[in-house]
């Protein structure tokens, strides 16, 4: 280990990118309420972005840059802190900055006039710092720190409007669910540390990483003299996956994400759509050599199920943000499947494209909510600003927002010319090829993805048609001439930028073939997959024709109002609307029992544990009472009795010496008589 004071330029730049948001956080934290402007935060993120662009240009497809310093030492083990710059980290660094900057700019307009604005910038900067840290660091412990800090920033931002009851319940839920995942991460770290005695990412998972050198013969998992039962390898993978499941909102831990929508919409776009929730995917890619087949199978199964389940829920939600939240969960499921089938490049590619179009969708939703809110204030009417049933026909009021939403929606549905088309097809095609290899039941995974794609096209079409087509519902409800305005231009500019990024040219010159995407070439391509050419033609064609059919159906139902009302009373509809009753199940099966157990244990503590102590105390007091009684009446009584006895004797005897001569004479005579009698008897 060279402790050189020389820090190379890329590392220096990375440090700058990392610390810039921290500086802005400190400015806000120290300045308190006086720092209301978003300028420091925005300037700093511009700095980070420039640094990220520089690093990307320098490191992408180049040499890996890695530098570390000693952090602390426990016993004989040294823990180091360092920065690693390889394709994955510079790409993520760039992505986070590229998304964060538009969101910052958007926020200046969107959050203007909020009472807690100083806290907003503080939390946002903290988030950026933590997220960049998570991406850049070179060991698992530091990564865990970034991992928890992003969760903490997310907690703060979800509960930003802390007087809102729903918001503070949501942020508690988010943090606790994420905590479960964190435990998984921590246990994973403990297993890896126990086996390999290092947490260094490059040493563990690098090209010649020691994880690959460890031998697993099915009974023991051994590396350089240390061994564990083989099951622990799978447990380690599952433990890390548990962390990813919570952070990336995979079933059964997805429940926090829809609630997290209580935060400001700009936050939802950055944290709960584009970056933080993708951290789980990123982490799994980082540590991918650790996974054995069991874990990979589990990842793809969970991913596919999550994708399907949340797509079915998104079909019926009425809250504009909740639809997008479930859509995010569903798309994260796609990325998980990509990881499960070993296509890490495809997972990251979808992560990137999803970040752009989902962020754009949220910002559009934010623009709509912003204007609806404005309308609510101006008209003094009471209505829900996020309910899509209150919208409709908005394309006439907000044409630019409409166009941008449309682009993002097409990308989400995976239609040609969009970036989403490329990434989603990549995952679908690889999934089919993978299933071809595994045969049998595993075919269900690509097929379910195909079904999910259709559902996706449907719910996003419903989203667009219900909001932008038809007539403005509030007008009919209140019977007033209400109208909305286009969003302020500083909210639109960032959206334009994201709209451009959601199209194909950023990723490939060829809009139809994902094989030409430069990004995918930056990652190792798993060779083991056999290329089944037919899928490369059939899958895109099938996906797109199905999508077009369901979009047409949605158009008839929601834009033309040919909706079959019988559907809304069906069981399936209720199941979907109530989000598969999972919240209810958790409340009944986990939350309530835990509360009961804790109350019961407190009763035990008071009555049994402390009760025993108190009873012991009382018994001792009782004993001492008995002892005191014995002492008083028996021991002391004996002493007193003796005393009384001698007193009585004395008293009696005293009576005999009262100074009366006749008595003395009588006594003397008596004694003399007795002596005489005794004397006569003896002699």
């Amino acid at each position: 280990m060279e402790y050189s004071t020389h820090i190379s330029l890329p590392v220096l730049t990375a440090l700058f990118a990392l610390l810039a948001p921290l500086c802005s956080f400190c400015i806000s934290a120290i300045g308190g309420k006086s720092v209301k402007s978003g300028l420091p935060a925005t300037v700093m993120i511009v700095g980070s972005l420039l640094a990220a662009i520089f690093l990307f240009a320098k490191v992408w497809d180049g040499d890996v840059v890695h530098q570390q310093v000693s952090w602390f030492r426990i016993g004989e083990t040294e823990f180091k802190a360092g920065i690693i710059l390889n394709n994955l980290s510079v790409l993520m660094l760039l992505l986070v900055c590229v998304i964060a900057l538009p969101v910052h700019i958007y926020s200046i307009s969107y959050m203007r006039g909020d009472k807690g604005i100083h806290r907003y910038w503080m939390y946002l900067s903290l988030f950026c710092f933590a997220m960049l840290g998570l991406v850049l660091v070179d060991n698992l412990l530091l990564m865990y720190i970034g991992w928890e800090l992003v969760g903490f920033a997310s907690y703060l931002l979800i509960g930003f409007w802390f007087t809102k009851e729903a918001a503070i319940r949501a942020n508690k839920k988010a943090f606790l669910v994420n905590r479960i995942g964190d435990l998984g991460f921590l246990i994973g770290i403990a297993i890896v540390y126990s086996q390999f005695h290092t947490l260094d990412l490059l040493t563990l998972f690098g090209d010649n990483g020691i994880v690959k050198q460890a031998v697993n013969d099915g009974i023991t998992w051994s590396f350089s003299g240390r061994e564990m039962p083989a099951a622990w390898l799978s447990i380690a993978g599952i433990a890390f996956f548990l962390g990813a499941m919570a952070k990336s909102a995979q079933f059964p831990f997805h429940i926090w994400l829809p609630d997290a929508m209580e935060g400001p919409t700009s936050v939802s776009s950055l944290i709960h759509a584009a970056t933080m929730v993708a951290a789980g995917v990123f982490m799994l890619v980082r540590i991918s050599p650790l996974f054995d087949d069991i874990v990979l199978m589990a990842i793809s199964a969970v991913g596919a199920f999550t994708a399907f389940m949340s797509a079915t829920i998104a079909l019926t939600q009425r809250d504009i943000k909740k639809i997008l939240a479930f859509s995010t969960i569903s798309q994260l499921g796609f990325m998980m499947v990509a990881i499960g089938i070993g296509q890490y490049g495809a997972a990251i590619f979808h992560l990137v494209t999803h970040a752009f179009f989902k962020c754009l969708l949220f910002l559009s939703a934010g623009a709509i909510i912003h204007e609806m809110h404005h309308l609510k204030e101006v008209s003094r009417l009471d209505f829900n600003t996020q309910d899509i049933n209150n919208m409709g026909g908005l394309r006439k009021f907000m044409p630019k927002t409409f166009c941008l939403t449309l682009i993002a929606a097409l990308a989400l549905a995976g239609l040609p010319l969009s970036a989403g088309y490329l990434s989603k097809d990549a995952i679908l095609i690889y999934a089919f090829e993978w299933a071809e290899m595994h045969q049998g039941i595993w075919m269900i995974i690509p097929l379910s993805l195909l079904l999910t794609s259709a559902l996706t096209a449907f719910y996003i079409a419903r989203f667009v048609f219900k909001i932008f087509f038809g007539v403005f519902q509030l007008k009919t409800t209140f019977n007033k001439n209400l109208h909305l305005h286009e969003a302020p231009k500083w909210m639109l500019y960032p959206m334009f930028f994201l709209g451009i990024c959601s199209l194909f040219p950023l990723f490939s010159y060829n809009p139809f073939l994902f094989e030409d995407v430069w990004l995918l070439k930056g990652f190792e391509i798993t060779e083991s997959l056999q290329r089944v050419n037919i899928y490369h033609t059939i899958v895109p064609a099938a996906v797109n024709s199905i999508s077009i059919v369901v979009i047409f159906l949605a158009w008839r139902w929601y834009a033309r109002f040919k909706y079959p009302t019988a559907l809304s009373s069906g069981l399936l509809y209720k199941f979907s609307v109530s989000q598969w009753y999972l919240d209810l199940a958790y409340s009944r099966l986990i939350v309530k029992p835990t509360q009961l157990i804790s109350r019961f244990l407190y009763g035990v503590d008071r009555q049994l544990v402390d009760g025993t102590v108190d009873k012991l105390g009382r018994i001792i007091v009782g004993f001492s009472g008995v002892a005191a009684w014995l002492d008083r009446y028996l021991v002391d009584g004996l002493v007193n009795g003796l005393g009384k006895c001698s007193f009585a004797v004395g008293d009696f005897l005293r009576g005999s010496s009262k100074g009366k001569v006749q008595h003395y004479m009588f006594s003397m005579f008596l004694i003399f008589l007795i002596v005489l009698l005794l004397g006569l008897k003896f002699f």
């Binding site: 921590l186 126990s194 086996q195 509360q595 804790s598």
Partner: protein, 534 residues
């Protein structure tokens, strides 16, 4: 005079001054106490800075630092030989951090007692006496001296709780006193047993020197605690019995489940400064005693009973956390969270791995700052409205934003948010406990996993409290009047809080500040245990 002696007797001097001064100078008492604590803190910081982390200490006197040894009691017992008790103090990696912790927590406690107006003379004199005793416990290397300081600690605490406490103060004080006395009375027996088992190699007399007790060669042949003959008492190995008795004595202080029930009562009834001292330092005396005495003098038994200690640790973690979840009194909640967090200490210690032991010591230090901070915060609320039931408050964040920020920092730091000290402590305790099965096979891996659930539960009760008391729309039981009384953090309080936040943060970011000082001692203790075992 040696630095350590100044550290010990400076507060005693302050106590005497307070006692001598007439009551007309009542207002000056707290300044004497404050002055003594500040000087102590400076000295403790200096000693920390000068401490050489490469020297291990533990069982070798040469590697102890700031050592002072003076003959104290010499009593000819005829056929039993010469009774020798020394004033023998010194510091190694296990104790150096506690000196600083004690000095700091004491200072905070003095600041927290600024508004006390009942019998000032007695209060500050007792506080300073307590200070002397605690400092003494952490540096004493002679068992007899240790025992004297250990017992002297009890007396001021009894009166501090019993006189200045809340409604049920007498009950709590007696309970606390009897509980701890019970432990220490039996400790006396073991101490005497050890005395007659060990001889000082240089003089040939029996000795109370703890370091001699750590060397098996010093045990006389056939003596009761000799590691070479298995002497049995009541059908149990004498060494095991001695270990258990000492362990229980210290475990009451830690406290472990089920010997913990004095703690919630004592905390709830104690005045704020005493709660701060109780949680901040007193509990650590238990952990310190386990390391310094139980493990170092009986390493063989430590090895063979590690499984049970780990189990007790895990039970304490989970049981304490679940109980905290059921609390409605904020102070009681923090008290139960202490039980849970101190469980990590036991788990880490039981693992006998470098990571686990370091994590445990780090946890004691970290919990020292953080629990002191939490009790200080609870005390602030109680000072204002004389109420601390969680359900009587809501939406305090709108009313007291700075206070809420401190509470949030305190809670998140305690629940192990990275960047704060508790994170490093808990993470390495878990990692160490997990590692034990691979390294020495002492505790199974499921214990580490079980312990980690405690981290989840601690998040649950802290976040629930935050949500319930601080967020939402302001609604108070006391209505308008409380609104008026609940002013935000004032300068004195900020001065006390900021250093604790700062330290928790600094230790969380640069754990080497602590690890560098304790590494050698930790390795040396593990080495001691391993040599005994082989």
């Amino acid at each position: 005079m040696n630095w350590l002696s100044i550290l010990i007797f400076l507060p005693l001097l302050a106590a005497i001054l307070v006692l001598i001064l007439p009551a007309s100078l009542r207002v000056a008492y707290k300044y004497f106490a404050l002055g003594a604590c500040i000087i102590q803190l400076v000295i403790a910081a200096y000693l920390y800075g000068q401490f050489n982390g490469a020297l291990a200490g533990v069982s070798t006197i040469d590697t102890y630092q700031y050592v002072e040894k003076l003959p104290w009691i010499r009593l000819n017992l005829g056929s039993l030989g010469l009774l020798e008790v020394d004033y023998f103090v010194g510091v190694d990696g296990f104790s150096v951090l506690f000196l600083f912790l004690t000095a700091l927590v004491m200072l905070i406690a003095v600041i927290a007692s600024w508004n006390i107006d009942k019998q000032l003379k007695g209060f500050f004199a007792l506080l300073m006496l307590l200070n002397t005793a605690i400092m003494g416990v952490f540096v004493a290397l002679d068992f007899f001296l240790f025992y004297v300081f250990y017992e002297v600690m009890l007396l001021p605490l009894y009166f501090l709780i019993g006189i200045w406490g809340g409604a049920r103060r007498e009950y709590a004080a007696i309970k606390f006193f009897l509980y701890t006395l019970l432990g220490s009375v039996f400790m006396l027996l073991v101490m005497v047993g050890l005395y007659f088992s060990v001889t000082d190699p240089s003089t040939g007399h029996h000795t109370f020197n703890m370091l001699h007790m750590m060397n098996p060669a010093n045990f006389s042949e056939g003596s009761i605690f000799s590691p070479f003959v298995n002497y049995e008492l009541f059908g149990v190995s004498a060494r095991l019995l001695g270990f258990i008795i000492l362990f229980i004595a210290f475990a009451i202080k830690v406290p472990i489940v089920p010997l913990h029930t004095w703690l919630p009562d004592a905390h709830v009834e104690a005045p704020t400064p005493v709660s701060i001292i109780l949680a901040g330092i007193l509990l650590k005396v238990g952990g310190y005693g386990i390391l310094r005495i139980c493990f170092s003098i009986f390493p063989d038994i430590a090895w063979s009973s590690a499984w049970w200690l780990g189990l007790i640790g895990v039970i304490s973690i989970l049981y304490g956390a679940l109980n905290a979840l059921a609390q409605q009194d904020l102070k009681r909640l923090v008290a139960y969270s202490s039980v849970s967090h101190m469980g990590f200490v036991l788990l880490g210690v039981a693992s006998l791995t470098p990571e686990g032991l370091s994590g445990a010591i780090f946890q004691m230090i970290s919990h020292g700052f953080l629990s002191a901070m939490l009790f200080f915060l609870v005390g602030m609320l109680y000072d204002r409205v004389h109420d601390r039931m969680i359900y009587n408050f809501r939406g305090l964040a709108s009313l007291m934003p700075t206070y809420t920020a401190f509470v949030a920092i305190g809670f998140f730091a305690s629940l192990g948010l990275p960047g704060f000290s508790a994170f490093i402590a808990e993470a390495f305790t878990i990692i160490g406990a997990f590692n034990a099965e691979s390294v020495n096979g002492l505790i199974p891996r499921w214990m580490a996993i079980g312990g980690s659930v405690g981290i989840l539960l601690s998040a649950a009760y802290f976040l629930w409290t935050l949500q319930r008391m601080f967020f939402g729309n302001t609604r108070l039981k006391g209505g308008e009047e409380w609104q008026r009384l609940l002013y935000d953090v004032n300068r004195r309080e900020a001065i006390a809080l900021v250093p604790m936040v700062g330290l928790a943060l600094i230790l969380g970011i640069m754990p080497s500040l602590a690890f560098d000082k304790i590494n050698a001692s930790v390795l040396s203790l593990i080495n001691l245990v391993n040599t005994y075992h082989q």
